[in-house]
Symmetry: C2
Amino acid sequence: MEIAVIGCGPGGYAAAIEAALRGAEVTVISNELGGECLNRGCIPTKLILKKKANRATLEKIIEQFNDITEQTKQGMYYNLKKHKVKLINGIASIDGTGTVFVDEQRIFYDYLIIATGSKANVVDLPPKYNVIDCFELLKTPDKLPPEVCILGAGAVGLEFAEILNNLGVKVTVSEQADEIIPSADVELARRLRITMQECGIGFSLHNTVPTCKNVICCCGRIPVLPFGAEFLYDNKKRLPLNENFKTIIPNIYAIGDCTGKSFEAAFAVNQAQRVVDDIFSIENNHSYEIAHCIYTSPNLAWVGTAGNSDLTVRYSLNEMLYNFDEAESAMMKITYDPASRRITSVHILSKQADTLISTAQMILRQNMTVDEMRTVCFPHPTVSEAFREIAMRAVK
Amino acid sequence: MEIAVIGCGPGGYAAAIEAALRGAEVTVISNELGGECLNRGCIPTKLILKKKANRATLEKIIEQFNDITEQTKQGMYYNLKKHKVKLINGIASIDGTGTVFVDEQRIFYDYLIIATGSKANVVDLPPKYNVIDCFELLKTPDKLPPEVCILGAGAVGLEFAEILNNLGVKVTVSEQADEIIPSADVELARRLRITMQECGIGFSLHNTVPTCKNVICCCGRIPVLPFGAEFLYDNKKRLPLNENFKTIIPNIYAIGDCTGKSFEAAFAVNQAQRVVDDIFSIENNHSYEIAHCIYTSPNLAWVGTAGNSDLTVRYSLNEMLYNFDEAESAMMKITYDPASRRITSVHILSKQADTLISTAQMILRQNMTVDEMRTVCFPHPTVSEAFREIAMRAVK
């Protein structure tokens, strides 16, 4: 079986390796291994955040990032080769005849997986504003402006706000909603905002207008599809997909950012696995508990959705004996169904939320009740014990 | 219902609070809130390890520890009071008549829970050796000896070895077994030993003889029972317990270190919950996936037991893009049953093993297969993604 994959970000790469593991002959067409995530997105921002880059250290951290990127690309290249995946460097176009075109080459396929990612949504602003690409800015630490306004208080906007604030830039974040991160728990989002304010970051809520001349747009992302993909659209120029990410053409799938369904790398990888399992008719008990994480200080992470009649329990992570370096605002919050007592969502504001949330994913995946969570024997002393502590507060 | 609890370490405290939450009238007899764990064990060692105390900072960290201990005791005191638990300061003795004696007082009970902990097993050594109490030593940083030998390469021995090595003391660890931490995975134990050796700690395996004059005994612990507890013994002077930690007297239970079954705080808390549920006839789906953790750099943590015919998969955590501060020796190792493909054990050597292991506990608790683990959508980029990466290496 021949499978073509367009794009080699987290989704495309995972699809290629998974398909090759299943025995397919795979061809990947990519003009940039790692995609946005590795080259300008998750990886550099998380590295800079974790290292708490300041003006003195930024250049070295960017060098380290370049090394990591280079090594990772080599690793990806090696791994693709090891799994006998053919890699074509270039920009692909498609048509309705079952062919992928790259320059003069034609690639035929039994199945096509489109994983072409997304691009930043740069809003139109009057010419008096100077719209800056934040990632480009970080490469030239000497040219940092004294002041910037970030439009949009989602994950990307907040992470850049923290990075620039650490670098001594005066930052104001403009957000049109009532609170930052409208998709997160509003109480923890507010706690995070106040913590960030205490670190010197300004916020302007209910506002879409930049507060100064230099503007960084973090207003979401726009799906990108290959040239010629219009034959996959419906009459509203949207890309319809079935539950297994199949387009209207039975042997063409789309995954990741380009579907517009989610702009998170983890989701793209999950979709890649589901698509390959669908192509190979493999039954798998796929997990759908997508955890979200914002890598600010502290991290904000969450999984699950509270029902309307659910009960809420809060636990201040500062109360924990062992968690002696925790942020003052740190909190865990769970919701559970009062009848079944099953946990429906977990929200964590903590320095370690990025790691802790995976335990919460597993808790949700097994439909655990608060009473069962109370009895889990976490090692002592660890921050994971918060799951037991919070469950204690829900004892009947 | 009146419940008496003797001891207020992690087990006794948990038993008292759990019983009070269930509506019992609880009396706790304790001569030291927090027990060994808070006052000389888990908490001070983990604090000193996490802070990487050196000679310049130790005094300040010990001060911080004293503050934490004081605050925690106040917190425990307040929480006991809030739950209407009566606290008696003193040393208890018991007899077969259903009475607890503390000085002149007599306490009657419907149920008694014994949680009197353990003491260090100090081996008899010829007088030429100078046996040192390590925790006392840390309180007098000026008097640190130039060289010590630690007898026993279990959790306590290794943690003290790292602490003293960081403080500039020449440390050799003597261990009678073939490898350090005989209860852990031998491959990861070896990796940890080599990493510790590279930091300057000496090891003498197959050896029970001290390598120098100053000796610290970390040769396990000895259960401690209240005065007069002999009526609970069998004819081999052991304390028989049923599966719910009930002694031969139907209304007397024993939990934690004093049972000799385990010397881990988390296990004592778990037993406290099980005992209280047993007293109140509460059905609970208790977790038995006890995770073990050694808080060295890197941490070594594990959960589960491999079967003889199980398959093993290894994954070097250094390969992870995001895990850029990881130890070179860092590794995750899983075993799974080849027929059911269920994961039977997870072993982690990593700076974050203490937190990661709780996700592994949840993975084991739900009898997850390697194929299911592969499909979990962990946030990106996080070290939790190692669970997916290692599962990829077990694809059929």
